[in-house]
Amino acid sequence: MKKYLIVLFAWFIFLIPANSQIINKEPLSLRQTGYRIDAKLDPVTKSVYGTMEAFWVNKSNDIVPDIQLHLYMNAFKNSESTMNRESDASISRKESNYGWIDIKSFTDRNGYDLIPVMKFISPDDGNINDQTVLEVHLPKSAVPGDTVFINVVFETRLPLIIRRTGYNDDFFFVAQWFPKFGVYEPEGMRYAAKGGWNCHQFHANSEFYSNHSLYNVKITVPKEYVVGTGGMLMTESDSDSTGKNKTLTYRAEDIVDFAWTAWPGYAVFTDQWENVKITLLLPKDRIEQVERQFTAVKHAFEYYARNVGPYPWPYLTIVDPPSKGARSGGMEYTTLFTSSSSYMMPESMHYPEMVTIHEFGHAYFMGILASNEFEEPWMDEGINSFWEERIVDHYYGENSGLLDHPFLKFADKSLGRLSYVHSGGRQDVSNSEYSWNYPHGTYGMMSYDKTATLLYTLMGIIGEETTNEVFREYYKKWAFKHPSGKDFVNVVNEVVPRLNGNRFGRDMNWFFDQTLYGTGICDYKVANILNNKIETLKEKANSTDSLNKNPAVREAHYKSTVELERVGEIMLPVQVLVHFKNGNEVLESWDGKSRYKDFVYTGTREIEWVKIDPEFKIRMDVNFVNNSMTMNPDNVPLRRLTNKLISFMQFFINFISL
C-alpha cells in the first residue's frame, strides 16, 4: 500500500506540472525529462546539498534496460579524470580546490535502492578513473511509453572556479551541479544506426547535449545573497525561524540545463524587450555597463526575431560576474547566460557587447535548436559565431563592430576570419570530428571561426535574404528538437533551390563537402594583366576633306587579358570586376573550377584594374591581397602611413629622452 502511495505521489508531482502550463501557454518541447530539486547552498563548505526527483519518458519504440546520467562535477574530482587528462592547465590545481558530486541515496519510484546497480562508465575513452557518466540498470526495463522516476540525494562540492563553474570567496556560479539524464536516441534520430543513450563524458574541449526539460528548483541561501537563475521566480520566503536563510522557488520550462549564481555583491537591474523581462545582475561598481548590456541584448533580440525566429520565453537573466568570478564569464544556459565586461571598459571597445550577443545567441543555437555539442560543435559555436558577427557589425559598425577607435577599427567578422585563415592548423582536420578529437588545439578555430567564415561565404554566394530564409526554415523545422549537421544541410538544400531555382545546382552539397567536411583552402589570385597594343589603320572619318593630306588616322587597339588562378583546393563561384582606363567596367562570373582562367578583350580600351570578388563575399579566401591588381597602384595610403610612423617615432624618441 505504501509503495502505491509513493507511486501516486510521484505521478502527482511530475504529471501535474508537466501538463499544467505556468510560463508558456503550450509546451514547447516533448519534455522527455523533468527535475524537481531542493538545494541548499552552504557558503562555508562550498557545497550544495540537494534532493532531486526526476523523470525520463521512454518515447522510443525500444525496450530500454538502463538509464544514463551526467555527473559532470566529477570532472574536477581527480587529476585522472578525462577532462584533467586532456587539459594540462587543470593538473596543477590544489586538491582542496577540486569539486565532485557525491550520491548519498538513489532510489526508483518504488523506493528500490539503485546504488548497488549503478556504475561509472566511460563511453568515449574507456578511462576507468573518469566518473562523469553514470549508468544505472533498471530493476525493470522501460518499455515504450514508460516513465522512469528516480529520487536522488546528493552533495555537490563546488570547485574553485574552473570551466565556468564553482566558487571564489563568497561568489558562486553553480552549473553542472546535479545528476542529469543523457539523451536517449532511438534508431534514426540524428541518423543513429541503432537506439541507445547519447551520454558523453566531460571533456576539456566540449560543451553539452541534453533534452528540453521541466525544472522546479528550490534554492536555499543565506539571506544576504542575491540569486540569479535560468528559471522564473515563483516564490520567496524565509526558510527557517532564525531568519538567516531564504528559500527561492524557480520554474523553468523547455530549457536544456539549469544553472544559477549567488553572490551578496550583485546589483539587480531590469528592463523589457517586447514581452520579455530582462534581469541583469552585475557588481555594484559596474553600473556604467548596465545600459550597454541592455542595449546589446535588445539588438540581439530584435535581429534574431526578425531573421531566425521568436524568443519563446518571457524572461531572460544576464549575469555579468565580478572580477573574482570572471572565470565564470561567457557561458550559456539558454535563459541565463554570463557576459564579461569590466570596470571602466572604454566605449570604443565592444567586447562586452560581443560576449553578450554571442551568449544570448546560444538560446537559439543549442537552446532551442538543441544540437549535440559533443559531436558537432560547429552547429552551436560556429553557427552562433556567424550570427554574433553579423549582429555586432550590423549595430556597431560594419568595419568597426568590435573596436571603433580613431587609431584602430576592427570588425567582429574580421577577427573570426583572421583566426581561421591565419591558423597553422586550418588544414589539419575537417568539421566532422567529435569535439575532443580536434588535434593541435584546432577545436576553437574549427568550431567557431572556420564555421562562421564558411557561413559568411555561403551568404556571399546565395545572398543575405536566402540565408535568413534558411535559418527561419531551420528554426521552424527543428525548434525544440535535436537537429544534426545533415539536417541543417538538408534545410539549406531545400530552401536555396526553392528561392533560386537551379542557379546554384540541385543542392548545396558541393559547398558543404568542400568547406565544412573538407580540409582544403580557398585562394583566388589575379596573376597578371596584359594590355598588348595592336595598331590598326582606320579610314579617316572625314574623307571628303580634300585639304587633309593624311588619308588615314592611326588608332590604338589592344588585346587585353586578365590572367586568374585558383591557388587553393576549394572551388567556389566568384565574380570578377574588370575596370578599363576609359571608365568602362565589366562584371564577369567564373565558376572557379579550373586552375587557370583568362578573360580576353579586344578593342580600343586598356584594362586598368581587376578585382576578384570585389565585395569580399568569399570570406574563406585566405589571402585578399592577391585578389586584385592595378596598373596604377595608389601609394597615398602607404605614404600617409609612413608619415604617421615617422611622427610616432619622433615623439617616441622625444618621450624616452629626458
Binding site: S323, R417, N623, M629, P633, R639, T642, K644, S647, N654
Partner: protein, 291 residues
C-alpha cells in the same frame, strides 16, 4: 614671482635658441626616417599592385596587413627591432644635443652660434649621457615599484574588489607622475649645473640636482608641475588631432607632413622651454645666494 620670471625668461631663451631646436628636429626626423622609409618600401613590395590598400583609406586595417602573411611577420619584427634601434640611438643623440641646448640657454649666452652649440654638445656629452642614463634607470625602477608591482598584484588577486586593478592603476600612475616630475627636475638641475661648469663631473651634478630640488622644493616643483601640465595638455591636443587626419590625396599628405612636423617642432620647443626655465630658476637662486 620667481616662478613666473623663470617661465618667461625660459620661453624667451628657448625662442632665441630656435636654431638648436631645428637641429634637434632634423636629427630626430632623419633617425625616424631611417626606419620608416625602408619599412614603406617593404610594404610597397608586399602589397605590390594589389588594390587592398583601398582598405587603408580608413586608417590601419588589420585584415589587409595580416593577409600579407610572411611579409607581415617580417615587417613586424623589422618594426620592433627598428624601434629598439632608434630608442638606443635616439637616447645617445638626445644626450648629445641637450648638452648644446642647455649651454645656449644659459644667462651668459649671447646670440645662438652653431659652432658653440656643437662644441658644448661634445664637451658635455659624457656627463649628460651618464646623468640621463642614471635618472632614466631610476625612473624605470620607480615605474616597476610604483606601477607594475601593485597593478600586477591587484590584477592577479581574484578576491580583489571589482575594478580594483583599474583603480589601483589610476592611483599609482598619478603618484608615479608626481615622482617623475621630481626626477625630471633633478635631471634638469644636474644638466643645468653641468652646462655652467667647465669640469665634467656628472655625479657631482646629480648630487647638485637632488640638493637643489629639495632645497628649493616649493618653487622648483611648482614650476615643473606647470610645465608638466602644459606638456600634457599639448600631448592630448596632438593625440586628438593627428590620428584623425586621413588625407586621400597627394596634397593632403603634404599638409599632414607639415602639420605633424610642426607639432613635433613645438614639442621640442616646449621641452627646451622646460630646460630654459629650470636653468633660469637655478641662476636666480645662485644670484640670491651670491647677494
Amino acid at each position: 614671482m620667481k616662478i613666473l620670471t623663470s617661465l618667461k625668461t625660459g620661453m624667451l631663451r628657448s625662442m632665441k635658441s630656435w636654431k638648436g631646436i631645428v637641429i634637434a628636429w632634423l636629427c630626430s626626423f632623419l633617425l625616424a626616417s631611417l626606419v620608416a622609409i625602408p619599412m614603406k618600401s617593404a610594404l610597397k613590395a608586399g602589397f605590390g599592385n594589389s588594390m587592398i590598400t583601398e582598405k587603408l583609406a580608413d586608417g590601419f586595417n588589420v585584415e589587409a596587413f595580416a593577409d600579407l602573411g610572411a611579409s607581415f611577420r617580417s615587417l613586424r619584427s623589422y618594426f620592433s627591432s627598428g624601434l629598439f634601434m632608434i630608442m638606443i640611438i635616439g637616447f645617445l643623440v638626445n644626450s648629445f644635443l641637450s648638452g648644446g641646448l642647455f649651454n645656449s640657454l644659459k644667462g651668459i649666452s649671447g646670440t645662438f652660434s652653431s659652432s658653440e652649440f656643437f662644441r658644448a654638445s661634445v664637451k658635455n656629452f659624457w656627463s649628460f649621457f651618464v646623468i640621463s642614463l642614471i635618472i632614466s634607470m631610476i625612473i624605470l625602477l620607480m615605474a616597476i615599484l610604483i606601477i607594475v608591482l601593485p597593478v600586477s598584484i591587484a590584477s592577479q588577486s581574484e578576491s580583489s574588489p571589482d575594478g580594483g586593478a583599474f583603480k589601483t592603476a589610476i592611483i599609482v600612475t598619478s603618484f608615479f607622475l608626481l615622482v617623475l616630475t621630481l626626477l625630471l627636475l633633478v635631471a634638469d638641475y644636474a644638466r643645468a649645473w653641468q652646462a655652467s661648469n667647465d669640469n665634467n663631473a656628472c655625479f657631482k651634478a646629480i648630487g647638485f640636482g637632488f640638493r637643489q630640488t629639495f632645497r628649493t622644493f616649493f618653487s622648483s616643483y611648482t614650476l615643473m608641475l606647470i610645465l608638466f601640465v602644459v606638456q600634457g595638455l599639448y600631448g592630448w591636443l596632438v593625440l586628438s588631432i593627428l590620428p584623425g587626419m586621413k588625407p586621400v590625396k597627394e596634397g593632403g599628405i603634404l599638409i599632414l607632413f607639415l602639420i605633424s612636423q610642426l607639432f613635433f617642432f613645438i614639442k621640442i620647443l616646449l621641452k627646451t622651454w622646460r630646460y630654459g626655465s629650470v636653468t633660469m630658476l637655478m641662476e636666480l637662486d645662485n644670484s640670491k645666494k651670491a647677494i
